[in-house]
Amino acid sequence: MNKFYKNILGGKAGIIGLAILAVLLLVVLPSSLQIFRLNLVGKYLTYAFVSVGLVLLWGNAGVLSLGQGIFFGLGGYCMAMFLKLEASDPITTKIQSTPGIPDFMDWNQLTALPAIWVPFKSLPFSLFAVVAVPALLAFILGSAMFKRRVGGVYFSVITQAFALILSLGIDGNQGLTGGRNGITDLRTLWGWDIRSESAQYVLYFVCCLLLIGCILVGRFVVSSRMGRLLLAMKDREDRVLFSGYDVASFKVFVYCLSAAMCGIGGALFVLQVGFISPSLVGIVPSIEMVIFAAVGGKMSLLGAVYGTLAVNTGKSLFSENFPQLWLFLMGGLFIAVVMFFPNGLAGLWESARARLSRLSPRSGAAKKIIPMPAMPQASNLVETEPKLP
């Protein structure tokens, strides 16, 4: 219990940070925003799952993936396939030449449901797939690359290429995936109308709670021996390898974990927004997601959430008024963050807090400085020769 308090909740400071976020998401925003705006926040929060995953993968493990959209999209498609099948019952689709299959399949002259779609008739399987399919793909990609020591820029570029491949693949297989339009016109989840106002409230709260769950999982990883090992790997990978660790397997694990989080985010996106398309899978969204994490602070799990909310809110406000300028502003923002605030919002918060504590009268106890003891002399070592373990 004590360990749970100290490591997972992060002690007093960690609990306060988490409590502030929880109150903001669960109380302040729902009570002050109209459902249309709240639903937008819910959509942004689905990207925050990706940012939290990136804090683990990029910030802690030092592996920058520019293809997280792959996993977001896969999670989304797994969810959308179930919803689409439920929306395509034979009665609703009786005007099609083949009733009972999704409309876009009918338009593409398919006459039977493709085998890959069949398991998605089951909700438990679909929910499992939301997490498992992204994690499995990450395992395959990660094992292939990390075991061969592909890292750094090469890894980033390859993940980007995969994002492009997947978005083109979805785009090009219209009969199977709905093509460029994606999977649209999603209505109910086991008969529950997800487009209704009450459902949007419920889904918003589910999204917030799952996000907080992911943050707690992230904190558990970071505070375990694994967290220290990841920092060590970033610093001296060779030393870790020659201390008997299979470095690749740790990278694969974090990659899979971040992919699973992306998948959950993607599924919640589909539930709240009501569609998925290849435009959410490719290179541009994948890079945007990295910017969210960078703005929040790539080492801070909570910062990732604020960064995502801040950038997306800015995007909404700005693109409503100056649609042409937004992309330039976004690029400028990323450059500014990298150059001037490498620790993002979380870094600004930390330095503001440090300044406050220096101003406060109790500042004497703020930071304990560890005294450096003098070097022992060789002469007195001979007498007090320490025992070896």
């Binding site: 694994m226 220290r228 060590a232 001296r236 390898l241 020659f242 201390s243 008997g244 299979d246 070097m375």
Partner: protein, 248 residues
């Protein structure tokens, strides 16, 4: 001289070639249990490459490296470490962002798998061992200091300590006293003599005075081949060695 065929480390006919250049050329080297062996040789003789080959960092072109009668060539690096070979790098490789305690803790040889790492607990046993090792490498007082704030010599000791945490049967050190003050060298010599009591140590070193203090036996490498092998006194009187190395 040697205890029959029961060597801890037996390197036979080891060759590695980089684009045709043979950095190590049909080398054979045998290290006994509890032996402290020093490898010397001019720059480019292939000393560091030999250590790289043993620990798997460089893949051998041909030949065999047997440790406790098990072939090491082709084994992944982390497996080689787990069979009992520890390696210290030439520039001190420690984790600058972690404290001395955490540096040592990460080197503790349990919980080295993904799941083991997540479930690892800082037990009494681990803490005791960290304290004992820190004590032996003169860092007892600095456990809570971050690696980045250690002096160069202290970093060297910390890395040796990290290896001791693993309790390896063969310890390989690449220039362990480089950049150390005379007092620190003195302490390191004591340390090495002490830890060689129950393990074998393979050291690369340039400082002849230091070599003389610690070596049981010296191997001289030149152009990837063994030029001479024997006690320090033998080596110093060997004419060929004087020619290529000591005379300079």
């Amino acid at each position: 001289m040697s205890s029959s065929t029961n060597f801890l480390l037996a390197i036979e006919d080891l060759t590695v070639s980089f684009d045709g250049f043979k950095a190590v050329d049909s080398l054979s080297l045998y290290v006994d249990r509890n032996e402290l062996r020093v490898i010397i040789g001019p720059n480019g003789a292939g000393k560091t490459t030999v250590l790289d080959l043993i620990c798997g960092k460089t893949k051998a072109t041909s030949g065999s490296i047997k440790f406790k009668d098990t072939e090491m060539v082709g084994m992944p690096e982390y497996q080689i470490v787990r069979t009992g070979i520890g390696r210290k790098f030439q520039t001190p490789s420690i984790y600058e962002n972690l404290t001395v305690f955490e540096n040592l803790e990460l080197s503790y040889p349990t919980g080295r798998s993904v799941w083991g790492c997540l479930g690892f607990r800082r037990s009494e046993e681990v803490i005791e061992r960290i304290h004992a090792v820190a004590d032996s490498v003169f860092l007892k007082e600095l456990l809570e200091v971050e690696g980045a704030f250690l002096s160069h010599g202290q970093k060297q000791w910390l890395e040796i300590g990290m290896l001791l945490m693993q309790d390896p049967e063969l310890l390989m050190l690449d220039e362990p006293v480089a950049g150390m003050s005379p007092a620190e060298r003195e302490q390191t010599a004591l340390l090495l003599n002490r830890i060689s009591a129950d393990r074998s140590i393979l050291i690369i070193e340039h400082d002849m005075e230091f070599v003389q203090r610690i070596a049981h036996k010296v191997t001289v490498l030149h152009l990837g081949k063994i030029l001479a092998e024997g006690s320090m006194a033998d080596i110093q009187h060997n004419e060929r060695v004087q020619e290529v190395y000591l005379g300079h």
